[in-house]
Amino acid sequence: MRTVLQAAIIGLSAGSVYALMASGLTLVFGIMRVVNVAQGALVILGAYLSYSLFSRFHLDPFLAILLVAPMLFALGVGLQLAFVRRLRRDEQELSLLVMFAVAVGIEGVLTLVYKTTYRSINPGYANRVLELAGFKVPLVRVLAFALSVVVLSVLWVVLQRTRFGRALRATVQNPTAARLLGVEAERVAALGFGLGASTGAAAGAVYGIVFPFNPGSHYDLISRLLSIVVLGGLGSLGGSVVAALLMGVAEAVVAATLSPVWSSFAFFAVLLGVLLVRPQGMFGSVQRGGL
């Protein structure tokens, strides 16, 4: 029982980072019906950028987020303008392929620059462990959890309380009506894509401290992220957060009780089980036709 609880705490922290990554994915899907399968690659790119800033300039990876986030934001806006905008609304399946190509492209560039050896970011506190109510929790995991809560809250405030957030939500609900009411849907879409990509900066920095990574790691990430967003219901931000926490805990508990090699399997078992009962995911709405 103790091992299970211990694992659940670790899993909650991993789940919160997944939630961070998945929120970007959900945001982009909500606005443009584009499944950004390059999100995993963006996270790995974020991890490499903080790795470089750390090893070259000894910049703390958590501080590096402030630098990396704008870079990924710009990249996200650029990707939207260059590739996604060109697709028509009836060609949404194509966006999946386009983003996959972008992911492979990012992987290729990272391979060229960093080669395929595994790297990890090792700040001085990487191995420090905290005692919380008798449970041993690595400091980094606590920081990761705190960071995820902060970033997700900021995201929530931006979406709920700002003019841009209202425009964005209006575009999600009804693009045509939003446009009629004077929302510049094209600009909102580009900025929203950038916002989704920039969540990869925070997630990448944390991911790089907790796990070793190489350019191919994005396959591992994207399979998990996609399971999470499908489980939560495509386009539901709250759903993806709940699903991410659930998956994180399931994975960690399986790793602790059974074997780490089966942990990713837990993900897919949960996914297939839920889809059997609810094809639209836990919090998704039934979509007609196109979805």
Binding site: L96, E107, V230, F268, P279
Partner: protein
């Protein structure tokens, strides 16, 4: 049964007759090896097209079934003391049908979801199968890989049996595609692609036809995996179940023309030699991935409908006087008519 028409029959006879004669004329091993992979992707593409092209259900995880076929053949052969010359090929139909039967319940769950979700579910399926291949070393050899029996073919014509096997699989895949296009099942699949709810409302057996297309597609894919494994001789999880095989297949179908009969083989014939050339010129790992991504983006952005439909439309426009271009030539969906 669909009526045969002379142009179509001639086209098929010339193409397949020429391809069957190729190994008798050409002896270079590298050309035949390239041809084997081209035929393999052509067959994989035609199989994928049954579900992704006609029914509109884009699967990104078909390589999972490819891997299952490869491992099924390897495991089956590891239980036979002396497999003989032809046993591996004779086992293929069983492996194809078996894989289809085993994956049918999963397909039933997956096909309840729609376009985007379906693509994602199939993609996760790919990782499930890869994880299984890694984690069941007793069965698959895990990351150590699984050795196939050494094929007892003479060195001079070593590639020939594999070449003919892949050609046969391509023929089967295209025959099924051709039959489906002109049959009631084909019309039902196209109806599912256009509007599944309306189709069901009109009495189309949506679940049945989707499952049938899935099963046929999976069976051929698994058989390709079997031939590939026997040819490669040693299989590892990361190569037998490589996401790039899935994506490559999808790319070739999009390049050639989704939902057409000759599109997938055409796409494979253009892309595989180009890909091998790029890999040969720029090295396997470094620039290769970037080049691949660039080609992919160019195809999807500038030829979203594929070569065949674009060329067909050009030809129609050229023949018809200006202003008389029919409505359907401007639709984005490929039509089922333009074949055989």
């Amino acid at each position: 049964m669909r009526r045969l028409r002379w142009p179509g029959v001639t086209r098929a006879a010339v193409a397949f007759g020429g391809l069957a004669a190729l190994p008798l004329v050409v002896g270079e091993h590298w050309i035949l090896s390239l041809a084997i992979f081209t035929l393999m992707y052509a067959a994989l593409g035609s199989a994928w097209n049954l579900l992704g092209g006609y029914a509109g259900y884009i699967s990104l995880g078909h390589v999972a079934f490819f891997g299952i076929g490869a491992y099924a053949l390897g495991i089956a052969l590891s239980h036979v003391a002396s497999p003989g010359v032809w046993l591996p090929f004779l086992l293929l139909p069983t492996i194809g049908l078996g894989t289809a039967a085993v994956t049918l319940p999963i397909a039933w769950v997956a096909l309840r979801t729609r376009a985007t979700t379906f693509a994602i579910v199939t993609l996760t399926l790919l990782f499930v199968v890869q994880t299984l291949a890694f984690n069941l070393p007793g069965l698959t050899g895990g990351s150590q890989g699984l050795a196939m029996p050494v094929p007892p073919f003479p060195l001079g014509s070593f590639e020939r049996p594999f070449y003919l096997a892949m050609l046969a699989l391509l023929a089967v895949a295209m025959l099924i595609s051709w039959y489906v296009l002109g049959s009631r099942v084909g019309l039902e699949l196209l109806a599912v692609r256009e509007d599944e709810e309306r189709a069901r409302g009109l009495g189309v057996r949506t679940t049945t036809v989707k499952l049938a297309a899935f099963a046929a597609s999976v069976a051929i894919t698994a058989m390709c995996g079997g031939v590939w494994a026997y040819y490669i001789a040693f299989i590892y999880p990361q190569f037998a179940i490589d996401p790039l095989i899935s994506i490559g297949t999808v790319l070739m179908v999009f390049l050639g023309g989704r939902g057409t009969l000759w599109g997938p083989p055409l796409g494979a014939a253009v892309l595989i030699p180009a890909q091998q050339y790029l890999a040969y010129r720029f090295g396997q790992n470094d620039l290769y991935l970037v080049g691949y991504a660039a080609v992919f983006l160019l195809v999807v952005l500038f030829l979203p409908r594929g070569i065949l439909p674009s060329v067909a439309e050009r030809a129609r426009r050229w023949r018809a006087p200006p202003g008389e271009v029919s409505q359907e030539s401007t639709t984005t969906r490929p039509r089922p008519r333009e074949v055989v």
